[in-house]
Symmetry: C2
Subunit: 220 residues, 2 copies
Amino acid sequence: MPRASRKPRARFNPQTYLDAVGGAARSYPSGATIYSQGDLADRVFYLRSGHVKLAVVSSRGKEAIVGMLGPGEFFGEGCLAGQRQRIGMAIARDRVSVTVIPRRTMQRLLREQHEMSDLFISKILTRNIRVEEDLVDLLFNSSEKRLARALLRLAVYQGADAPPMVVPAISQETLAEIVGTTRSRVNVFLQRFRQLGFIEGRTTLRVNASLLSVVLADPM
Amino acid sequence: MPRASRKPRARFNPQTYLDAVGGAARSYPSGATIYSQGDLADRVFYLRSGHVKLAVVSSRGKEAIVGMLGPGEFFGEGCLAGQRQRIGMAIARDRVSVTVIPRRTMQRLLREQHEMSDLFISKILTRNIRVEEDLVDLLFNSSEKRLARALLRLAVYQGADAPPMVVPAISQETLAEIVGTTRSRVNVFLQRFRQLGFIEGRTTLRVNASLLSVVLADPM
DNA sequence: CCCCGGCTGTGCACTTTGGAACACCTGGCG
DNA sequence: CGCCAGGTGTTCCAAAGTGCACAGCCGGGG
């Protein structure tokens, strides 16, 4: 193989390798639980299509969202670091299809396929950075700013023409869990943003990114 | 080499490999800044001895501690995921010696040395889990519980005889930054813990682990 | 021996947040 | 057509947390 080329991983499809080692395809309907807290942790998942939320529930019922993943991401990788049980749960947010790789297979794959391990490391590091960002966000910013940040992150660029980005329908309840606060609070802030013209619409809301980011800049 | 043996990484010294690729040794006095926010991110550090704190400062001066590292850990690895600038700072907490590896060298090393990449992945995943724990801790628990948790984590087992573990001298200010609250608050809780007999001593404080963990179990 | 800086002990006013309660809308379904 | 479920708009109060101010303690250096 031409591994002397300068950027060998410009387009690399991990699926090929995962299939080659016999990774099992599986799919879940929206809302299905892929694994839950306490389950045996002995495989890694590769998210082929759809979206997955990673959440943890506290002893007193509250739920916190620690990650929202899209296609091409890995999850359940804690087992590679010696974790025996899942410390959180993975829930399908829409129709999801994954490839399941047993722990040892994944370990072997990471050793034997450079590109695979490159990709994996880079994904993990990126997730790591993301979680750290969330941590400092939580430490530094008020719920209002965190909500603004979350909205900006959730918003997707809708074609080249429309500047107002759009947040794919999400309940205030879920927003609250992402931001780490209560629904009533989210509601109040959303209202405020609406009145200031930062967002509009009810279920799927349109976001004026440049306006909304004013909230973040604001001293307090 | 006998790589057929079942547990090849039982004792694996990464330092050998780091030296082999020309990793530069460097050392810092206590309190020195290893890198700071905004610096060019083009190398990875391997912590040979001493302790390092990873912190982020907000636009309004507050400082948050996102990690406390000990010997054998990597840091500054964000650059492997395409980060151009350091998003936080690394400070030596005592006399520290590190090995510095340029980004590309590290990437090559990770591809070519299985054990290296095994080790690295496992370290990164562990850190990841740790940060996620902190995140949910912050979301679920009150400052009091977080402080209790932090104390338990900081405490080190002092020889086989003495059940009371010991927290290596640390200022209330730093504790506050770790826990994510204010010093006055930390002070109050420490006082409370003292009165309940959970801890004793002033500068380096002795911790009664089993008693202190009562705080964590407590409903509220 | 005294002063100074750094850490600790404490009180207090002000803000933010959580949690719960209640009315309202809207779409689906019998 | 009326009911129900699930999400939304709104309000309120007590609990938790922040920021600040000020006093005390303690060790080291002039």
